[in-house]
């Protein structure tokens, strides 16, 4: 088999779905783990507004429920990222990527501003549309090769059609669209900012992983 991310170090077997750790995926896995721990321990910054023409400033309060909810979503997103980094099954990978997508929607949608809600809605629509090419790609891989396991697909004898690979990339692009929105200044400056970083990090990670998957197939 062609080993893009290095030789698998060890395997974790869950029936047909075999999770495997290569030097490449283990690095990404640890990155996701470290950032999830950061989210777990960090406290959200409070946005400071300065009144013009005076010394007055006031900090925006973040309600406890919003903080809890966004922290929960960020941790779920981190866990989903870890799953997507190490899974060895194409369909399982697509499911983890969809989970990352919906967690990102949750992180953004918890903010109470209308403008941010609109952005979250538009992003959610793209994430939902992104599942179409994702699942279509996984199904085409299964139908044309007779297997979904990446370890089997990595063998040189099996040819995956180009269209299926391209659909997979398109689907991951749809799910990882969050930075397009998160990069907007309003979103980063929204109260409780550090959790938004998780959107960008998770998109980065799933893009890195899909590159490996595509080269592997």
């Amino acid at each position: 088999m062609n080993e893009i991310g290095g030789a698998p170090l060890f395997f974790l077997e869950f029936g047909d779905i075999v999770i495997y750790f290569t030097p490449f995926t283990i690095t990404l896995f640890l990155l996701a783990l470290v950032f999830t721990v950061f989210v777990l321990v960090s406290r959200p910054e409070r946005q400071i507004d300065i009144a013009f023409g005076g010394d007055a400033y006031y900090a925006k309060e973040i309600s406890l429920s919003e903080l809890r909810f966004r922290r929960f979503m960020s941790i779920a997103c981190g866990l989903a990222c870890m799953g997507a980094m190490v899974t060895g099954d194409v369909f399982d990978f697509t499911l983890f990527v969809s989970l990352v997508g919906i967690c990102n929607v949750g992180i953004v949608a918890a903010v109470k501003s209308r403008h941010v809600q609109n952005a979250a809605y538009q992003y959610g629509l793209v994430a939902l549309a992104g599942t179409v090419p994702l699942f279509a790609a996984a199904a085409m891989v299964a139908a044309t090769t007779g297997t979904l396991s990446m370890l089997e697909l990595a063998k040189d004898t099996i040819q995956v059609p180009l269209a299926a690979r391209a659909l997979l990339v398109l689907g991951v692009m749809g799910e990882g669209m969050a930075p397009f929105y998160a990069a907007k200044a309003e979103m980063f400056r929204a109260p409780g900012a550090p959790y938004v970083i998780m959107c960008s990090l998770s998109s980065l990670l799933i893009f890195l992983r899909v590159a490996e998957v595509i080269l592997l197939l």
């Binding site: 869950f14 919906i102 959610g124 994430a127």
Partner: protein, 200 residues
């Protein structure tokens, strides 16, 4: 070689093409959501084209992901548009509010659903609960329902680990998973039923 599989793919992707073209032109946010739901069907068709038992097992997650995101997005849509009034106020039919008929029908549905068990059973029993909630315009505390849904999720994960690490206990795991999915679908359907009711 135009085998049956390729013909099926051609039809499915033609549908996806039409749906996507419609999406590029649509400007109304609600219609966008509905159109995407339509395009989802094309991806389910592509999964179904595998044509094995595996395909049937893969359709279930595919379908559930679509439904779940649809639910979350519809709630975001309501907030985003600032809709506060609830045009649907349960089934405000006086006979239904008073008579024991909804109780009997709901009990029948729930019992039948529990006998069936599994996904379908959960759907039927959940329908019974939703019908009851709607006929009584029940509103309020669904913390209990959320807790039950959390417990059923944990039950499912526990069953999965029994399957993976203690395979000889497969019977226990099967029953755990069947019970987990039954509880899960009942609570989820009831939550949906309670969520469109009147605010407290």
């Amino acid at each position: 070689m135009w085998n049956e599989y390729s013909i099926g793919l051609a039809v499915a992707f033609l549908c996806a093409l039409i749906g996507s073209l419609a999406l590029t032109r649509e400007r109304d946010d609600l219609h966008k959501l509905l159109l995407i739901d339509l395009v989802e069907t094309a991806s389910l068709a592509v999964i179904a084209l595998i044509g094995t038992d595996l395909a049937e097992a893969l359709i279930l997650p595919g379908l559930v992901v679509g439904i779940a995101e649809l639910l979350a997005l519809s709630q975001i849509y309501l907030t985003k548009e600032g809709y506060q009034s609830y045009p649907v106020k349960g089934l405000n039919i006086e006979v239904m509010m008073r008579s024991p008929a909804p109780v009997i029908i709901s009990t029948f549905l729930v019992v039948y659903g529990i006998i069936l068990s599994g996904f379908t059973g959960g759907g039927i029993a959940g329908l019974g609960v939703v019908f009851f909630l709607m006929s009584r315009s029940f509103c309020g505390n669904f913390h209990i329902l959320e807790m039950a849904s959390g417990i059923s999720w944990a039950l499912w994960v526990a069953a999965f680990f029994v399957f993976m690490f203690l395979p000889e206990w497969w019977y226990l795991a099967l029953m755990g998973a069947a019970l987990g999915i039954l509880l899960k679908v009942i609570t989820k359907m009831s939550l949906v039923g309670a969520m469109w009711g009147e605010p407290e």
